[in-house]
């Protein structure tokens, strides 16, 4: 066997000293030289942040503190391990993978206890062989170069490796979806399904329906898929997303309930349940879910200060003011010197003190919230800013409310969903259509800018058009229409004029920005495809 552990640095994460020794001896018997040990999750994270490992063998159940899955999530989230590292999650029962039903982070391998040296070695050998085979694609992806990853993946597919063929097809379809090339992905999934009914291919077709805005069709697909595969947790998440897109929050709630019964450890799913139940007015369910979120968040990289404020707001709604204030206090302890947390805490406090009849403390909290809000500007989450606005209106601080609203509307003028949230908030406090004039005016200004920019572009004045949009984006940051227009012009510029790396980098940055601010994936996909094809044809020429 050509594969050896001799040159690999290995980390063992295991709380039981007998097993630690057993694993260490096993690794030494397999010619390992560098073996580091950690007996809990935090220690593991600490070692990983200091040195890099080729192999991490991590037990799922680590006693108190983080579990193995949480170690993996944090390691990936903080880039403590890269695409070359083989992460093995060790557990007592075989069905752990399904029970965890992780939303985003899967280990490279699950290993069931007890196992012997031969088993470990063959799993590691297989994983390293696969990683080596996929290295070029993984590297391109890690560097954020989608078009290169697609090119390399196509090249590997041509190599005709039988064992890797299906794995590559799956990867290729996922890459196509990321690039918005839904036709290519659909074609791959159909090709796979012709040979065999495989859930991931069926799921992929549903995802494409969802992205193409055929929500009803996507839902039908997801539903029949979970009926046949009750442990396909990913499918519940997609089903939830699809219902959310249709504003069917009671369906969102029941799907998530179902998923959580099978896999109660997922903090992200609990969060979604809490929000959905809250929206539906099922305060009891929401409270239970928020409590789980706070509890699960203790050791999770996915924790957020909004978990606490969500719970506190819920207490405020159920007139449990004491509980609300207690939760906020706990939050301040966990998130010291954290402006967003303080903003959340102050906003809820203003509300709670008001219902308690303490005008003075309420006023004080609100002023603090407004102050932090204006300092954070666009960095504060927009739903949180809306809450501050609402509290301001309710406390007769209209000037402050309008100030924040002005910026919010400018930043999100082409996001109908947000504007509807805003309208709903205002109707809720008896201010129907309050901001309609501002919204329409801002929209018209945007249209005027766009028309002017497009006209310049059509005259071939790319630079002038870009300058105009660049200026507009100062007052309307995160404006999707402007970003999309800029991308269109720049890609066209790259096509008709000589290739220039600086422009190329700017396009990549803009694509990332577009993704971040949530430009419609289909719209963005078409542009990305155009860009990928352009780069491919330039690569051929060069």
């Amino acid at each position: 066997m050509s594969f050896s552990l001799a040159g690999k640095s290995i980390l063992i994460v295991e709380d039981n000293p007998v097993f630690r020794k057993a694993m260490r001896d096993m690794l030494y018997s397999l010619q390992a030289v560098t073996v580091v040990e950690a007996d809990n999750g935090i220690a593991a994270i600490n070692v990983m942040s200091k040195s890099s490992f080729d192999i991490v063998l991590c037990d799922y159940n680590l006693g108190v503190g983080k579990n193995g899955q949480q170690v993996l999530e944090e390691a990936r989230h903080r880039n403590l391990i890269d695409y070359r590292c083989v992460f093995v999650l060790i557990s007592a029962e075989q069905t752990t993978s399904a029970v965890l039903g992780v939303m985003d982070s899967k280990p490279d391998e699950y290993l069931t206890k007890p196992f012997n040296a031969q088993q470990l070695m063959s799993r590691l050998t297989r994983n390293f062989a696969r990683k080596e085979f996929m290295a070029s694609v993984d590297k391109a992806l890690a560097g954020g170069d989608l078009s290169k990853a697609i090119q390399l993946c196509d090249a590997l597919l041509l190599s005709g490796d039988k064992k890797m063929h299906l794995h590559l097809l799956k990867m290729r379809a996922e890459l196509a979806i990321s690039a918005g090339d839904f036709e290519k992905a659909r074609q791959i999934y159909h090709e796979v399904l012709e040979h065999r009914e495989l859930p991931w291919a069926r799921l992929g077709l549903g995802v494409i329906d969802f992205q193409n805005n055929n929500i009803e069709q996507a839902i039908a697909g997801f539903q029949s898929l979970v009926a046949d595969n009750p442990m396909l947790m990913e499918c519940y998440d997609w089903l939830g997303k699809a219902y959310e897109a249709l504003d069917q929050y009671s369906d969102v709630e029941s799907v998530l309930q179902q998923a959580l019964q099978l896999s109660p450890q997922s903090i992200l799913r609990q969060k979604k349940l809490a929000e959905a139940a809250d929206k539906n007015g099922n305060l009891e369910t929401a409270e239970k879910a928020y409590k789980s979120v706070v509890k699960l968040g203790k050791h999770s990289v996915h924790r957020s200060c909004s978990d606490f404020s969500g719970l506190a707001k819920l207490y405020a709604k159920t007139n449990a003011a004491d509980e609300a204030l207690k939760t906020l206090e706990e939050m301040r302890k966990e998130y010291a010197n954290h402006p967003e947390a303080e903003l959340r805490a102050s906003t809820v406090e203003a509300d709670v003190y008001k219902t308690l009849g303490n005008a003075e403390l309420s006023q004080k909290a609100l002023l603090k919230a407004v102050d932090i809000c204006s300092r954070l500007g666009n960095k504060a989450p927009r739903d949180l800013q809306l809450e501050v606005v609402k509290t301001c209106f309710l406390s007769d601080e209209h000037d402050k409310a309008e100030e924040i609203l002005y910026d919010l509307i400018h930043a999100h003028i082409d996001d109908e969903q947000f504007l509807n949230d805003l309208r709903r908030m205002q109707s809720g406090i008896g201010m129907d259509n309050h901001s309609e004039i501002l919204i329409q005016k801002t929209k018209q200004a945007l249209i005027a800018t766009n028309n002017k920019g497009v006209a310049l572009y059509k005259q071939g004045k790319f630079k002038e058009a870009l300058d105009l949009f660049e200026q507009a984006i100062q007052t309307m940051p995160d404006n999707k229409t402007i970003i999309v227009n800029m991308l269109k012009i720049m890609i066209h510029d790259l096509k008709v004029n000589e290739f220039c790396e600086e422009k190329n980098q700017r396009i990549k940055a803009l694509i990332n920005k577009a993704k971040q601010i949530g430009v419609d994936p289909h719209k963005l996909g078409i542009l990305q495809m155009e860009y990928v094809k352009l780069r491919q044809s330039q690569a051929v020429k060069a």
Partner: protein
């Protein structure tokens, strides 16, 4: 009025914790066997027996847990395309010490790029339990052979032992309603593998299991059919 509040929510958690605990004990036990063997320059017959029993407990426990999940509808197969040799290797490695210790000649007849669609973790574990039995009852040789038959992929495990007792041979392994034959380790192992085989479906066909004493080695023959 309900006098005994049903607390079904807790049972899975308690079951999982219990399994975890037993598995930890088993792991410790196996590790101590290994350390003791190392101290006394190689394993004795008693230590081998200990290791064999531990492997048996492990299989039974794993099967129990999977069957519980199937029963409570918390189970679905995870079907993937996988090289058959990887599945066999996993099963063989699980039993590697046993084969080595008993000086059994374990032969494998499987092409390197033979592929199949199945839940490879489930199938390799189920095969490991069958293999464990074959290794126990054979004289000298065990053969694992992969072939294609009527559109099924078949994995046969054959030995040169005394063969299956008559009550197994007359039983219909794929009729899981008639369970007279399910007793003892062999029966449980066969039951498990036939249920798991039956869950594998493709193009209107289900997987199944067949046993007889027609082994080319002269003893028992087990055959798994995957659609």
């Amino acid at each position: 009025m309900q006098t005994h509040p049903k607390n079904n929510d807790l049972f899975p958690t308690i079951l999982a914790s219990t399994v975890h605990d037993i598995k930890n004990s088993l792991g410790t036990l196996l590790e101590l066997v290994r350390q003791t063997a190392a101290k006394q320059d190689g394993p004795s017959a008693e230590l081998n027996q200990l290791e064999f029993e531990a492997a048996r407990i492990n299989h039974s426990l794993m099967q129990l847990l999977v069957m519980y999940k199937v029963d409570s509808q918390k189970f679905s197969l995870h079907i993937e395309e996988c090289p058959v040799i990887d599945i066999l290797d996993e099963a063989i490695h699980q039993q590697a010490r046993l084969a080595g210790l008993h000086n059994i000649d374990l032969q494998v007849d499987c092409g390197d790029d033979e592929m199949c669609y199945c839940d490879n973790a489930i199938i390799s574990n189920a095969l490991a339990a069958v293999l464990n039995n074959a290794l126990r009852y054979t004289h000298k040789t065990v053969l694992i052979a992969v072939a294609e038959e009527d559109g099924y992929l078949t994995i046969a495990i054959e030995d040169d032992g005394a063969g299956y007792p008559p009550h197994f041979l007359t039983a219909d392994l794929n009729d899981t309603a008639e369970l007279d034959w399910v007793s003892g380790n062999t029966g449980l192992g066969l039951y498990f593998v036939s249920v798991m085989a039956g869950l594998h479906k493709n193009a209107g066909k289900n997987g199944f299991v067949r046993i007889d004493n027609e082994s080319r080695l002269g003893g028992a023959r087990f055959k798994l059919f995957l659609p």
